[in-house]
Amino acid sequence: MRPAWSIIFFTTMSGLGLGLAGWIVIGLLPLMTQQAVIGVGVVTLALIGAGLISSTFHLGHPERAWRALSQWRSSWLSREGVLAVIVMAGLAGWFAAGYSGTAVPIWANLLLLVLIYLTVYATSMIYASLKTVARWYHPLTPICYLMFAAAGGLLVTLAMLALLGLPITAALAQAGIVLMLSAWGVKFAWWRLAGMAKHAGSVESATGLGHLGTVRPLMPPHTEENYLQHEMGFVVARKHADKLRIFAIALGGVLPIIVLFVAPASAAALGFAVLSHVAGMFVERWLFFAEAKHVVTLYYEGAA
């Protein structure tokens, strides 16, 4: 599948922002001053919002994007939009309460937490519900998205703690390491399991000609690449996948973990760890799209 930058940016940034919001609403990042509330609030909402806005850049008609909130009964994309809007409004309210010093009841925090992770889940299900892309259509796909939101969010939370001059306990830094390791562990399992997933179909079942013999594409229906091949038959740099996976793991996982081991209290080091993690996640998301093959390629290449 063609990796659209707007979509890569959207899934990475909103995932990170939602992960951060999840740790904030359960009180992991105490916001003592009004400046802290505004600063952290702006960063959190900007991460989620920037991702959502960028996701409209790949649309043919971005001005109609509001219509995407209407079909939550059947469409995961619509559900994602609706949930994100509710979460953004809820978080805005949460930060406003923090600013005015109003206590937020526990049930509201828990409700927000559930909605936040439901939003991440909905993002993942946009892809995981597509039966046409074998490696996305796997139960581990949503787990990857959820784990990366939690692990990346915790990393940003720790960086914010350091930035605000608040203490980072050893247990918290260790939790960061464990979560990051688990997230990449799940991703590794996804690469092994979902990454190897093959479509049940073949060019024989796609054409219904299997009972007559073996089938191979002879002539394409047109002289130029069409929308389908451009969108679903993306092959560039698939050959570099192994190298890119190493980049993703090194930047997205290994470097942040080293920082958490060596300098868990340094704001600068943690800031660097966050940037490194984001860069690694961009590579990971790019591969998520670039390596995925759509079943329609059976009609064009005879294999998918």
Partner: protein, 251 residues
């Protein structure tokens, strides 16, 4: 609403005879011709005579080679393979649509796009295993086969033209249009007689359109049909009868 409607009694669709199709592309051309001026936005056709033409098409004809045996004994045949929207009963392109622009008609099962609502996100094209949908590069909305909904119910057209443009234009009669929900319709009888198949049944989309596989090849030792005998067996009629009698008289 992008929830799928209850299955309709009438299921309009196409039956494509792969035994007959010669891959002439006439259906492709007439489809584009009719649909660029009909339902919705025109179909893009950019840089048509240039080095890199782009555009959207609702119907494309592939060609496949089907081979049996191996080595010297291998026999192959070419199968021309037209492909357009199959108007699936479990259409995944409908349920993934976030805006309600993609819908399946409750009355006849035709899957359509409301182009005034479409945001051009492309998710429906991703969800379709058949590659039946193409995002128009100029209009930014999703284009797909409408089963020529603006022809088949059009009282302004002569009755013989009230069928999809691809069916009307096919010079070999390889394309048929009808109600596949009615087991006694011509198309349903054809599907039953010839063992019509669904494409990619493993995707559970339950397509309405059916494909009639090529007929079995004649055995190698079977004598070829004698065209001379066939021609002689026939007594001339009409003009040829007149020619025949006129020539006889001259003789």
């Amino acid at each position: 609403m992008t929830m799928l409607p209850e299955p309709s009694a009438i299921k309009l669709g196409l039956v494509i005879d792969l035994d007959i199709c010669v891959g002439c592309q006439a259906c492709v051309v007439n489809c584009k011709e009719w649909n660029t001026a009909g339902y919705g936005a025109p179909l893009a056709d950019e840089d048509a005579y240039g080095a890199a033409p782009t555009g959207a098409w609702l119907n494309r004809v592939h060609a496949y080679e089907v081979s049996e045996g191996a080595g010297e004994a291998q026999i192959s045949r070419t199968v021309h393979f037209p492909k357009s929207c199959l108007h699936c009963e479990e259409a995944p392109c409908v349920t993934v649509c976030p805006t309600g622009a993609s819908f399946k008609r409750a009355e006849d099962g035709i899957v359509l796009v409301n182009e005034d609502w479409c945001i051009g996100c492309g998710l429906c094209a991703w969800s379709c295993p058949y590659g039946a949908r193409e995002l128009d590069p100029a209009e930014g909305v999703m284009k797909k086969c409408t089963l020529c909904v603006d022809r088949i119910y059009n009282d302004n057209l002569p009755e013989e033209d009230r069928q999809p443009a691809c069916v009307r234009t096919c010079p070999t009669n390889a394309r048929h249009f009808g109600d596949l929900g009615d087991p006694n319709s011509e198309v349903s009888l054809m599907v039953a007689a010839r063992g019509g198949v669904d494409l990619m049944p493993e995707q559970d989309t339950r397509p309405v359109n059916k494909y009639l596989p090529p007929r079995p090849r004649r055995a190698a030792d079977e004598a070829p049909m004698s065209l001379v005998a066939m021609a002689e067996a026939e007594t001339p009629k009409g003009f040829w009868k007149w020619v025949d009698t006129a020539l006889e008289r001259m003789g």
